[in-house]
């Protein structure tokens, strides 16, 4: 991989820091007219998701991280691994629990996900922003209660629990924002 000096730093550059792949999310040159130049950088650790600030100086170099984001279809989970396929090459990848993380509760077969590969192996899984999932368990719906305000917990087919309006029933399909876990609306059944 390439080596980057602080002049090459830019938002989106993937670098290795303390042994982990990181994404530069902010980069600012701070330099007094006559003084030493520093780069104040915010990085996201792509393994842990943690964002932190670090200052670099003129002479420092970092190795690039072999990281790529690819669109893939989710195939199935065997309990230990989640299996994905690149739709153009049909190449399959298996992601472990650490890579899938919280995304697991949103993954439905055939949904398109973004898989972050690090040295060719899945490092992180990003589910679609919006998913449609079936309610498998919730208190019975209150007939006629379509008023605003009331919600109740509902367990979805993937195991996620979201707050839904009181009128929703088992077997209904809901549309959910995976970034916030919020109910967006009722979806029509296929």
């Amino acid at each position: 991989m390439a080596t980057y000096s602080i002049n090459d730093f830019r938002v989106g550059l993937k670098v290795m820091l303390d042994g982990d792949p990181c994404n530069i999310v902010e980069n600012e040159l701070v330099k007094p007219g006559k003084g030493q130049a520093f780069n104040r950088v915010k990085l996201r650790n792509l393994k842990t998701g943690r964002v932190w600030e670090r200052t670099f100086r003129g002479s420092e170099n970092l190795d690039g991280a072999d990281v790529a984001d690819l669109d893939m279809d989710f195939l199935y989970s065997d309990g230990e691994f989640w299996h994905f396929m690149e739709p153009t090459t049909f190449e399959q990848h298996q992601a472990d629990k650490a890579a899938v993380g919280d995304a697991a509760k949103w993954l439905k077969e055939q949904d398109k996900c973004v898989i972050t590969l690090f040295n060719g192996a899945p490092l992180a899984v990003t589910p679609p922003n919006h998913v449609e999932l079936e309610v498998v368990e919730t208190d019975p719906g209150l007939k006629g209660d379509t008023a605003q305000g009331g919600t109740k917990p509902a367990t979805l087919s993937t195991g996620a629990v979201v707050k839904v309006p009181l009128f929703m029933n088992q077997g209904d399909v809901v549309r959910v924002d995976t970034r916030t876990g919020e109910y967006l609306g009722r979806a029509s059944k296929d």
């Binding site: 600012e28 006559k34 600030e53």
Partner: protein, 315 residues
């Protein structure tokens, strides 16, 4: 392809034209003469942290000037009197939200004045353009004592390092005092400045650059150098100029030593400047002010690209 488009809006260009008219009127009223300094120079600054762009011309290497200072001091020594220059300067590798490798510097010299008189004139100019700004004067020592609780002139490198490491995440080994001072200024102190115009004066002796040294009220040797900030952004840097050629040569050589230690390229000392100082640089104060940054303050732009017709990414 949309990247032929300027990075500044046409309204921004109008603001720049208006600012230049105001600046030229200001100096005309005060009988300061506009001069043009060459952009190419056979020599350049030796500052360890300023890198020059080189240009080839007729088989010779030249340096694009990082400020018109050396040419203007030769003019002062030749008897030009009070002069200003409004022109392009170049600093290799400086690019970012507040930096572009090519930018516009307003630089002027006042024979017979000291740094405090010149700070008042910077204040008058900035207030002409940005009326109503609050103005604050504080010494470099007060700045450190108020917010960090130590005397920047007397603290050891170890004390400064311990304080910086508590607050800033950086990998650094044995560094000199100036390294830690710069780190604390950029990461901690600039953010403490109010929204108005602030002058910081009496810099550490080790950061004198081309300013003369003097003893302050506490008996401390300080550099008669100042910086102006609008909000937390550095706007101008000025000196009560050093007029001693042998002391100036000693400082250039110290710069070259530091460059050698840091593994940076070596630039020749400007012998013509030293000869001019030796022939008699009048007692004077001088300051350089970043016009692009002043425009950013004037128009509320958050990045320098917004005030440049074409920033480095659009060349």
């Amino acid at each position: 392809m949309n990247d032929w488009q300027p990075s500044a809006s046409i309204e921004q260009l109008r603001q720049r034209a208006r600012l230049y008219r105001q600046v030229r009127a200001f100096f005309t009223e005060r009988e300061v003469m506009e001069i043009e300094a060459p952009v190419m120079g056979a020599a350049t600054v030796t500052d360890p942290f300023i890198d020059s762009v080189t240009a080839q011309c007729a088989g010779r290497s030249y340096y694009l000037q990082t400020s018109p200072e050396f040419a203007m001091k030769r003019l002062l020594a030749a008897g030009a009197g009070a002069i200003y220059s409004l022109g392009k300067v170049f600093r290799n590798g400086e690019r970012g939200r507040k930096h572009n490798p090519e930018f516009t510097l307003l630089e002027w010299y006042r024979p017979g004045w000291n740094d405090h008189q010149l700070m008042r004139e910077v204040e008058a100019l900035v207030l002409r353009v940005l009326p109503g700004l609050t103005v604050t004067y504080l010494s470099y020592r007060e700045w450190f004592e108020r917010h960090l609780g130590l005397d920047p002139h007397r603290a050891t490198a170890g004390q400064l390092a311990a304080l910086a490491r508590e607050r800033i995440n950086i990998e650094a080994g044995e560094e000199d005092r100036d390294f830690w001072l710069d780190l604390l200024v950029t990461h901690e102190l600039e953010a403490t400045l109010g929204p108005g115009l602030t002058f910081v004066y009496d810099y550490p002796e080790s950061q004198a650059a081309l300013a003369r040294l003097a003893t302050d009220a506490e008996g401390q040797t300080v550099a008669r150098r100042f910086e102006a900030f609008i909000g937390s952004m550095e706007l101008a840097n000025g000196y009560w100029e050093l007029t001693d050629a042998s002391e100036q040569r000693r400082r250039f050589e110290a710069d070259q030593d530091k460059r050698r230690k840091l593994g940076l390229p070596q630039y020749p000392v400007d012998e013509k400047l030293l000869a001019a100082i030796d022939a008699g640089l009048p007692d004077s104060a001088g300051v350089a002010l970043g016009m692009d940054r002043l425009l950013m303050c004037l128009t509320g732009a958050s990045s320098i690209a917004e005030v440049l017709a074409f920033d480095v990414n659009r060349l």
